[in-house]
Amino acid sequence: MNIRAYRRCAEGTQPKHLHPPYVSSLKRAPAKSLVYLPHTISEVTGPTFSKELVDVKACDLTKQHADAPLGERIIVSGRVLDEDARPVANTLVEIWQANAAGRYLHGSDQHNAPLDPNFTGVGHTLTDAEGRYRFVTIRPGEYPWKNHYNAWRPAHIHFSLFGPAFATRLVTQMYFPGDPLLPFDPIFNCTDDEKARSRLISVFDWETTIPVQALGYRFDIVLNGREATPIEEHGHETQR
C-alpha cells in the first residue's frame, strides 16, 4: 500500500515548545528531542466529522441565547486551504473566545469583568466544498493575565481544525489588525518567522462587511499539504 505523506512545516514557521517569555511553557515543554516519525497510514488518516454532528446554529454566536450579546457584532470568515492552495472541504472548525468585556465563560477565569448571560463564546462549523467557513460573533475584549507584570492578551479568537489527517491537526489563534498589544504578547510572538506571525492577524474585509450590521474580518487558514509522490510502503523518504 502506498502512502502519500504530509509535508512538514517550513522552518521557523512554528513555535518551539519552549518559549521562555511564555512562562507556562517552562515546565511543560519537552526537554528531550522529539523523535522524527515518518508518516504511516496512522498519520495520514484522521477523524472525520459528519454534517449530522454539526449544529447549524453553532456558527452564529450572537444567536445562542434569548437576547443579543453585548459588544460589537463581527463576521469572521475565510477559507481553509492546503499549502498548494487547494480547499480543505468538510473539515471541522471549532472556535472559542472571551466576551466583549474580556471574560471567558469558564470557572477558572477570575478576571473581574462581567459575564454576559447572552454570550457563551463557543462555535463550530464545517467548511464547504470550497473550504469556506463563516462565523457571526462579537469582537472579544482584551484581558489581563499573570504571565508578567501588566500582561494583557491582545483580542483573539481560538481556532481548532482537524484537516484531512492526524498529521494536519492545528490549534491556533486569530488576532485583529492594528491591535496595540500584539508587539508585547509572548504567545503571538512565539514564532521566529515574522511573516508567519503576521498571518495570524485577520484582515478587515469590506466584502464580508454587512451594511448597518457587522464588520467583516477575513482569516484564511493553511494546513499541511501533501507530498507530490507516494512513498512505496511508506519508507523514510519524507522531506524533513
Binding site: S24, P30, K32, Y36, S108, S160, L170, V171, E233
Partner: protein, 189 residues
C-alpha cells in the same frame, strides 16, 4: 507548494469551553467488536505537578486494523458506528480516562505491520503546539518489531507502553510526563 501552514498557538487555559461539546471518552459503543480496554492516567509537568488544564485526543484503527477514513483502502471490514476518535480532558488532579477497543495491526514501512497503537495528541495551557505520542499495549509480542518503537532508545520505550493494573483485567495505566525524568517520548510528525 506556494502557501505555508498556519502557525500553531496554545489552546490557553480556557479551551474546555470550546472542546467540551465533542468530548468522547467511550470510543466503542456496545455493538463494536474487539477487545475492550480502558486507559487511565495523568498528565504531569516537569516538576511532576498534575496538569488540570489539559486534553488528550485519540485516533485509532478498529479491531481489524482499519481506519474509518477514505485514505485507508485496505480490504478489511469497517465497524459500524466506530469512528476511532476520542477526546478527553484532564480533571483537577490531571487525570484522564477513556474506554475503547484494542486496535488491530495496520501496515507500516517496508511491508511490515505495525504493533497495535493509539495515536495521541496532547494539548495543554503552556504548550504552543500539541505534543504527539503513541500508546502501545503491554505483553504484545509485535511491539518488538514495531518500526516506531524501534526509532526510540530502548530505555525510553516503556513510556509509550501502557501498563496493566494488577487484578483489574482490561484496565491499563498510561501517564504523560511532559518533561524531565521519565519524560514521555514525543514524536515530530
Amino acid at each position: 507548494m506556494n502557501l505555508q501552514a498556519t502557525t500553531s498557538q496554545t489552546v490557553g487555559p480556557f479551551f474546555k469551553i470550546g472542546f467540551s461539546w465533542l468530548y468522547r471518552d467511550q470510543l466503542a459503543g456496545p455493538g463494536v467488536s474487539g477487545e475492550r480496554v480502558s486507559i487511565s492516567g495523568r498528565i504531569l509537568d516537569g516538576d511532576g505537578v498534575p496538569v488540570p488544564d489539559g486534553i488528550i485526543e485519540i485516533w485509532q484503527a478498529n479491531t481489524h486494523g482499519k481506519y474509518a477514513h477514505p485514505d485507508d483502502e485496505q480490504n478489511k471490514p469497517a465497524e459500524q458506528g466506530f469512528t476511532g476518535f476520542g477526546r478527553v480532558p484532564t480533571d483537577g488532579e490531571g487525570r484522564f480516562h477513556f474506554s475503547t477497543i484494542k486496535p488491530g495491526r495496520v501496515p507500516g514501512p517496508n511491508g511490515k505491520l505495525q504493533a497495535p497503537h493509539l495515536e495521541i495528541s496532547v494539548f495543554t495551557r503552556g504548550l504552543l503546539r500539541r505534543l504527539i505520542t503513541r500508546v502501545y499495549f503491554p505483553e504484545e509480542p509485535s511491539n518488538a518489531e514495531d518500526f516506531a518503537l524501534n526509532l526510540v532508545e530502548l530505555e525510553r520505550r516503556a513510556t509509550l507502553i501502557a501498563k496493566r493494573i494488577e487484578g483489574r483485567p482490561g484496565e491499563l495505566k498510561w501517564n504523560v510526563k511532559m518533561q524531565g525524568e521519565d519524560e514521555t517520548v514525543f514524536f515530530d510528525c
